[in-house]
Subunit: 273 residues, 3 copies
């Protein structure tokens, strides 16, 4: 299953439009190229509909949203939906400011996303208007653990059902849910959370997997999340004395570039809940 | 010839103003520093004329153009020309949206660029209003190959003559033309096209070479294109098991940093057509 | 002293708001994560007050300032001061354009910064309206050397006293002054000046150290400057044949990630003037 999803990306080389933040845009572009997709970043209102129309999928990431890019997000999102493209929302920092929370909520209400990917704080901000978000990291009390996993899954399934989309909640344990099924993924390494942009990169990777696997969207999401986590593990194995997060960042992207379907199938650790 | 061009950059350390995209701005800055030039990025209308006035050259890259930076491109371009600085256009994604195509066309009509560098799709979009561009990559049917090279050269020479500037068309084979002469460059590695921003980096590198070699502009362009391709080759030789595009990106910049004139002269593979 | 400062950052993990340039934002984010702080980048006027309110410190970096982000800098700066957070100004390129100089001067007059960090040209532009700045590098005639050090220290102490803040002037020799005391720091490597963003990264690092050490601000600044310089030395020791500035950039961030208090205390080379 996962092998097929990865190979579909390699074969179709989906062209992904990203309205994303300037902090991690370079890593996002390289992550898309690493999985053999093609990136384009464009956030000017006057061109986003045209740009998204020639692409296969759209990632909306609100990491450094501003008054000029917010209308672009709505325009591109609606156009992409109209074209039948897959659209993903990464609500970076939802809960950290009223503007972020409201923009994310409004995007959710106007655009039928195929997938929403965030940490538990961000998803909670969308689901219940929580204001407990601390930037890009799930606050400690909000982390998904083995102890509260069942409760979290119930909470997230309700949200996924309500939004009629796939929800990917990442953290120590990654959860992929569609309102009915739930996959729990154990791949990854704690150090990944100390590298800026691993979440943004995963979101773009998911968009590429969705665009290349429109008939098995849930599986595509699971495959992308496993691939990213596995890349974090493989990259960690290559770390040498003195290496830190900058080298780790590069090795994660390298690992996606070098990963094939057999490797993914073998290394993926997930279970249906 | 190439050696002199590289050494002029090292000696003059030209200060290059870049109005460029936020995706690859960091790599562009490091590429300029690697060749011993100095970068400054500034795209606010209120300061671009002043900034460009204290620089030696200007790169205009429309990769993430927007309503606020477009007027800055025109103002800076005109000022740089008035100062006698060299000015280069990188029409990223021309053909992908009306805004990009029209902005690039209008820039070309108002600013006498010293050089335009793009892939064949982007150049075609400027030359004949082609709408076949797929983002930053030349579409397959548009690639310059040994078979269609003669035809492409004729096409590009007409464009170069019309625009009265040097045209650099990069792809599997890189062509540098000025309306009369044409250099064909064989340096480079296919993997370079899978690293985001190698085109943007080359454009900035060309601006630095032009700024340091105002009396032999065509040779300066050839030297910069050879240097970038050779860096791609040298970087590739250093790749180890498990390395992918992120490491390759770093090694390419490293190779420019470590390259001297003798190395460039020895490794350059070009011929006059 | 330095050990305590570093360990306070590791313990408190300060959350740092950065209004910064898009060229080096990624490196700044990773540098903050490397020292165990948390970064958030946000420059939209509508949210900066709310964002800075949930943070522990604010860095204002004018590297790619524009009409939309300038009001955000003032709003966030004032809010942060009102909250009792530490605030740092990095006047990138002050002196290179009227807009930069005036914005930096106006920021200084309206916001009581805890620290201003720049090269000597930038500081001079603020102190005496010098227009001799060349981008991000101190112009040669403006470099702090062993010969002119005493004179420079006098000049900088007057500025620090006037602004009632800590001034960090970086270059071959780094100086940290508060109007009374002056620390001279000898850590670092010349190659650091050829990597884009090392100044921006240091500024963010200083903000993190200040936020975690509010009761010994001068010492916190000295610790951060020593840490960055030492990282440059440790990173340089790990360079191999063929490595250049891109690899060096990564190794510097890696070195901060791997540095502990004992290592910092042992490697720091500073003296009170």
């Amino acid at each position: 299953m996962l092998k097929d999803c990865l190979e579909a990306v390699e074969k179709k080389k989906p062209f992904i439009h990203n309205i994303t933040n300037y902090v991690t845009a370079n890593d996002v572009a390289n992550m898309l190229l690493a999985c053999k997709a093609s990136p384009i970043m464009a956030d000017e209102f006057k061109e986003v509909e045209e740009i998204t129309a020639i692409c296969d999928g759209l990632t909306i990431n609100i990491g450094t949203l501003n008054q000029h890019t917010i209308p672009s997000m709505f325009a591109a999102g609606k156009k992409a939906v109209k074209m039948g493209h897959c659209v993903l929302l990464d609500p970076v920092g939802a809960g950290a400011s009223t503007l972020r929370t409201n923009t994310a909520l409004e995007l959710c209400s106007q655009i039928p996303f195929d997938c929403i990917r965030g940490n538990i704080s961000e998803i909670k901000a969308l689901a219940i208007g929580s204001r407990n978000t601390k930037g890009v990291d799930a606050s400690v009390t909000d982390a998904v653990t083995e102890e509260n996993k069942e409760e979290m899954i119930d909470f997230l399934q309700i949200f996924a059902k309500e939004k009629q989309c796939i929800v990917i909640c990442t953290g120590k344990i990654d959860l992929v849910l569609d309102g009915t099924s739930c996959y729990s993924i154990q791949n990854g390494h704690p150090k990944m959370s100390q590298v800026t942009g691993t979440g943004c990169q995963l979101s773009a990777l998911v968009t590429a997997y969705l665009a290349a696997n429109p008939k098995q969207k849930l599986e595509a999401c699971v495959a992308a999340v496993c691939a990213m986590g596995l890349a974090g593990e493989l990259a960690w194995e290559r770390m040498e004395k003195g290496d830190g997060i900058a080298t780790y960042r590069n090795r994660i992207i390298d690992a996606i570039d070098q990963m094939n379907g057999v490797c993914l199938e073998k290394g993926a650790r997930y279970e249906i809940q």
